[in-house]
């Protein structure tokens, strides 16, 4: 099963998005919330992200959902801290955080590959609400 990491500047946002994605996902899908920095302040932490990526990977890879700005830079930095083999199956989805995480959770539960799960998350960009 492909794992999912939800990265936000806010720990509460990351936990909330994880809860919404968990509701739609099979129990075997590892969804990890990774938000905020030490002392509960807003921000992203590349070291914490690196650890979350390792925990989320059961061998089939990880799709990463990010919020704004430094979330992307910190994730790229976390990837650089991993070795070649560990980062090979990690994809950052260019997708809205909540909708992307839910779509990814559904796709991951059905046993799709990391590319297919990332594509499902990115398809959330064009989901109309009205």
């Amino acid at each position: 099963m492909v794992g999912i990491v939800v990265i936000s500047h806010s720990g509460k946002v990351a936990e909330g998005v994880k809860a919404m994605a968990d509701q739609m996902a099979d129990k075997s899908v590892r969804i990890i919330a990774c938000g905020g920095i030490e002392n509960g302040e807003l921000g992203t932490d590349a070291i914490k992200i690196m650890e979350a990526l390792i925990r989320a990977d059961s061998g089939d890879g990880v799709v990463v959902l990010v919020d704004l700005g430094s979330a992307v830079l910190s994730t790229y930095t976390a990837l650089e801290l991993l070795d070649e083999k560990e980062r090979r199956l990690i994809k950052i989805a260019d997708a809205p955080l909540v909708e992307g995480a839910v779509c990814a959770a559904v796709q991951a539960s059905a046993g799709f590959s990391v590319d297919e799960v990332a594509a499902a998350a990115e398809s959330a960009r064009s989901m109309l609400k009205l």
Partner: protein, 209 residues
């Protein structure tokens, strides 16, 4: 050497602390008003880590600084400066004395790291507008046979001009880019903190030979 290294980094921390509100206000004008706060928190964490391991060598120390910044700064300057210090550790491997040549190699590695991480080039109102001219000035200083201190002084002058230049251009990166033309007239907070770091190291070198 180790004590000197700690003192040099302490000089950076002091400058960031002194200019905390200044950096935050610059960021308030065109960004999310946290650069000074984030950098001060970052260097607080850096000193905590370094003081816990006073015998660390130059390269390992630089790497430790990078890691501490990655996990404590919070904003984009965390992965940018974190990458910069971790890259500077590479040419420093096995070295105990910083001469002009090594300093320029470290500055180049740091600058390239930030460019790569931020996908930025000169003229986009970022740290690069201070750091790249600083490296070029340093390189020229070495070619002219100048000392480490003279090279650092030239680098600071060039970085200062770079910071002034950021007032005249439109931000292309980060939250300031949302302002478009309204970002003109403001100096870039990241370029400013890069200048402060270079100036702090230059001051340290001036006082400690």
């Amino acid at each position: 050497m180790n004590q000197m290294f700690l003192m040099a980094i302490q000089t950076i921390k002091q400058s960031i602390d002194t200019n905390k509100d200044f950096l935050t206000n610059l960021d308030g004008a065109i960004g999310d008003a946290d650069h000074g706060i984030n950098m001060a928190r970052g260097f607080e964490a850096v000193m905590g880590k370094l003081n816990a391991e006073p015998d660390i060598d130059l390269s390992a120390g630089l790497k430790k600084i990078g890691m501490a910044l990655l996990s404590s700064v919070g904003g984009a300057s965390g992965p940018l400066y974190g990458t910069a210090f971790m890259r500077a550790a590479i040419p420093a491997a096995g070295k105990t004395v910083v001469d002009a040549q090594l300093a320029s190699e470290m500055l180049l590695a740091a600058t390239e790291g930030i460019k790569e991480r931020g996908k930025a080039v000169r003229g986009e109102k970022t740290m690069i507008d201070a750091l790249e001219p600083a490296y070029e000035a340093m390189k020229k200083g070495i070619q002219d046979g100048k000392s480490l201190l003279e090279c650092l002084e030239s680098a600071c002058s060039a970085a200062k001009e770079g910071v002034e230049y950021t007032k005249t251009i439109i931000a292309k990166k980060g939250r300031a880019s949302y302002l478009g033309e309204r970002s003109i007239g403001h100096q870039d907070p990241g370029a400013t903190s890069s200048l402060l770091i270079l100036e702090a190291l230059t001051d340290f070198c001036r006082k400690n030979g």
